[in-house]
């Protein structure tokens, strides 16, 4: 098991956004988290990545406890994420955005910076290489020198994924990667995610676009009012009456988009 | 005991002045997200205008205060139109520097027009009276009364009227405010006018117990910044409570801790509070 979550709970004042959730994420799979708005999905991700401290419960990652680890350390451990609203270094170019993602794997200090040591140079080169590799991987090489704010939403989403991948993650958390992009591009995105998994990265994603989820996920976790109400393969989830009632609604939503 | 009362009363007097200045500052801060250092200059100009109108035109104190409030409100609107509205709202630093430029200018302007010497404002309320066993000048009671009155009016305006709420709304999301049909320029001008008017009122109230001179606003404005940070930036109740807390703690600190270090109190208080609670005492944003 890559990630084991036990009794995870998060309260904001009186509101329990995540309530006693148990879950596991298996290496090399795609796990999807779905649920109505406000179900606590994003909060669930915030907890794993260390942005929020859980009220209760524990998170084990590759056998070690990361329940209270701050976000920059979880990233160093190999958990990377994207945000629900695309979050990038708006003012920088695409490549500059992505290459800083590899900083976590470098060691150059102020001393290296001042004396421009070999280490600094090597690591700089490594970062560039990594960034180019990742941009190539997500298909954005041609935009490398454009400022981020000048590219489209969908390109920004892919940049965000490239940035997350530049940290060399083992586990990638994607919060609604397909929101705001059209069906055509959603299909491309799905194949990109598959490609990421083929490259050995475990993926966990939140999404409202059911066709995509159903075709992509190996395992689905359904949250409602902070609690896990179901879990299983897409086939099981699709036919789970409770999920249909709480979330999916009519058949049609699942089939088309 | 009586002596303690006297000191608390002194604190409340000066706290009233702080609160009025901080209120205007916090309103502008909410809209512009900029520490408007020129606000101290508005305070200073307000005092001079009242003084000039009183002495040159021979009008009554209250009428002079009214005229001064209107004129400073107008001056504040002018700074908004000519300078602040032309700067990028998302970039606070240039606005801050522009504010400092305005401050330099207004101070030099006051120097040119009114001279660099200290001046005294004499009101009809100079006599000392006995009040709850304390000797106080009537002017000091008036400061407290008038400040409370202005605060109440402001509170009602911001919470009970849509025009007032539009200031609050704009402080939270400019584009959002546009989308519901709020006229951004009008709100910005209105905010500046209110802030300027409050500063002028505060200065005109405080000047008779103090002196009028070109740099009189500088220290007050620094303390007002401390207050709005303590009170949560953009928070109206925060500015009021913060102003009184500061006034009283300065007065009591001077008495029971050290007179010499009483002016440190504001800053020590701020540093201590932010060290413990980095987001200030009140955290919700601009609210009525």
């Amino acid at each position: 098991m890559m990630l084991t979550i036990n009794g995870l709970t998060k309260s904001f004042g009186g509101l329990t956004a995540v309530n006693e959730v148990d879950a596991v994420i298996e290496k090399g799979t795609i796990t999807a988290v779905i649920g109505p708005n406000g179900a606590g999905k994003s909060t669930f991700f915030h907890l794993i990545s260390g942005f929020h401290q859980p009220t209760k419960g524990s998170i084990q990652y590759n056998g070690s406890d990361i329940t209270k680890t701050p976000p920059h350390k979880t990233a160093a451990l190999g958990i990377s994420r994207t945000f629900q609203t695309t979050h990038l270094f708006e003012q920088s170019t695409v490549i500059d955005n992505v290459l800083i993602g590899h900083r976590v794997r470098t060691k150059a200090t102020i001393i290296d910076a001042i004396f421009r040591t070999k280490r600094e140079k090597n690591e700089e080169k490594k970062c560039y290489e990594k960034a180019r590799e990742m941009l190539d991987f997500v298909g954005l090489s041609h935009l490398e020198n454009n400022p981020v704010h000048s590219i489209t939403q969908e390109e920004q989403k892919r940049t965000a994924i490239a940035l997350a991948l530049a940290t060399d993650p083992e586990l990638l958390l994607l919060d609604e990667p397909a929101a705001g992009i059209n069906p055509d591009e959603t299909i491309e995105l799905a194949s990109l995610i598959k490609k990421i998994v083929r490259n050995g990265v475990t993926v966990c994603l939140i999404e409202h676009k059911m066709p995509m989820i159903m075709s992509l996920a190996d395992h689905i976790i359904v949250l409602n009012h902070g609690s896990k109400i179901a879990e299983g393969t897409p086939e099981e989830i699709k036919n789970n009456p409770e999920v249909i009632k709480a979330y999916l609604g009519g058949e049609e939503n699942v089939e088309t988009g | 005991m009586e002596f303690l009362f006297q000191q608390v009363f002194n604190g409340v007097t000066i706290g009233s002045v702080y609160s009025l200045v901080a209120l205007g500052l916090t309103l502008i801060f909410g809209i512009l997200h900029v520490p408007n250092f020129a606000h101290g200059a508005m305070y200073m100009i307000g005092a001079y205008l009242t003084l000039t109108v009183m002495t040159a035109m021979g009008v009554h104190y209250w009428l002079a205060v009214g005229i001064s409030i209107l004129m400073v409100a107008l001056l504040a609107i002018i700074t908004e139109r000519l300078v602040f509205s032309r700067l990028d709202q998302n970039n606070p630093l240039p606005m801050m520097i522009a504010a400092i430029g305005i401050l330099f200018f207004l101070e030099a302007f006051a120097h040119l027009v009114w001279g660099s010497q200290y001046q005294r404002m004499v009101t009809p309320y100079g006599e000392s009276i006995n009040f709850l066993g304390m000797t106080v000048t009537l002017q000091r009671l008036i400061i407290i009364g008038a400040a409370l009155f202005l605060m109440l009016i402001l509170h009602l305006f911001l919470t009970r009227t849509m025009t007032g709420s539009s200031i609050v709304a704009m402080a939270q999301n400019r584009e959002g405010a546009f989308l519901v049909g709020i006229n951004a320029n009008k709100v910005a001008m209105l905010t500046f006018a209110i802030a300027g008017g409050l500063a002028a009122a505060a200065a005109s109230l405080a000047a008779p117990i103090n002196l009028v001179y070109p740099s009189m606003g500088n220290l007050v404005i620094m303390k007002a910044f401390v207050i709005i940070i303590l009170g949560g930036m953009g928070s109206i109740p925060g500015a009021i409570v913060g102003g009184y807390i500061l006034g009283i703690s300065e007065s009591l600190g001077a008495t029971y801790i050290s007179a010499e270090y009483s002016d440190l109190i504001a800053f020590v208080l701020l540093v201590l509070i932010l060290t413990v609670k980095p987001t200030g005492l009140f955290v919700r944003g601009v609210q009525g």
Binding site: N37, G38, A179, P183, G249 | -
Partner: protein
């Protein structure tokens, strides 16, 4: 109701809209389709007065609205529910909604009536009315945004990707709601990625590509167009 003629908008030297002409009749529901960056939001912003139109003319209900500020547009009944929501995060849900009827601030009856409609539409908002809007989940905030736009009692409602980030169940309801709002006589201009659902409730539609209108037609025409099916509706 709304008529745009050869409208162009640029950001700096980049042309986001080029000679766009379109119209919407009173009571119509018109869909705007287009991939990311096609210029849909820019078009909406232009109509709302949030960006400057460099060329062309814009008319609403017979009068020119070119170069008018956003507040003017809202007064005219042109209300937008924007992408990115633009809520007042520290205000409560109720306060946000009330601000929505800013232009009707002197008319308590309209306010109350609209508020009831919004609560009927999104009961969760009534439950959360005392919470700061900023603490709501993404989808709930979207509801507040739509609700706030409705509070202005629009005659022309511009909806910029209202289904963004909403759960399927809610999306379904929301399209029904939009349809209902439309049926009460409100003209609706709807930009959507979710082309199928949008077209289903629409009268007509336009397709935008790279800042220009590349296709327009009735609901049927567009639904049956192979290219559109492929590009926007998916298999």
């Amino acid at each position: 109701m709304l008529k745009l003629d050869n409208v162009s908008v640029s950001y700096g030297s980049f042309k986001a809209l080029e000679n766009v002409s379109l119209y919407a009749e009173q009571g119509e529901l018109v869909v705007l389709l287009g991939s990311n960056g096609a210029g849909k939001s820019t078009l909406f912003k232009a109509v709302s007065g949030l960006v400057k139109v460099q060329e062309g003319s814009m008319e609403a209900a017979g009068t020119s609205i070119l170069g008018k500020p956003p507040s003017f547009m809202v007064k005219k009944g042109i209300v937008q529910c924007a992408e990115g929501r633009m809520l007042f995060p520290a205000m409560t849900v109720l306060e946000n909604l009330k601000m929505g009827s800013y232009v009707h601030r002197r008319d308590k009856k309209v306010q109350e009536e609209q508020l009831r409609n919004v609560y009927d539409l999104f009961p969760i908002l009534q439950e959360k009315r005392k919470d700061p809007a900023g603490s709501l989940s993404g989808g709930q905030q979207q509801m507040v945004a739509i609700g706030r736009a409705l509070m202005a009692k629009p005659s022309l409602l511009l909806l910029d990707e209202p289904s963004l980030g909403l759960a399927p169940l809610i999306v379904e309801q929301m399209f029904e709601t939009i349809s209902e709002i439309n049926k009460t006589g409100v003209t609706v201009l709807l930009a959507e990625q979710n082309a199928h659902a949008a077209l289903k409730i629409s009268n007509r539609g336009y397709v935008l590509e790279n800042g220009s209108v590349v296709m327009e037609g009735t609901q049927k025409e567009l639904m049956n167009n192979e290219d559109i099916r492929k590009a926007y509706i998916g298999a």
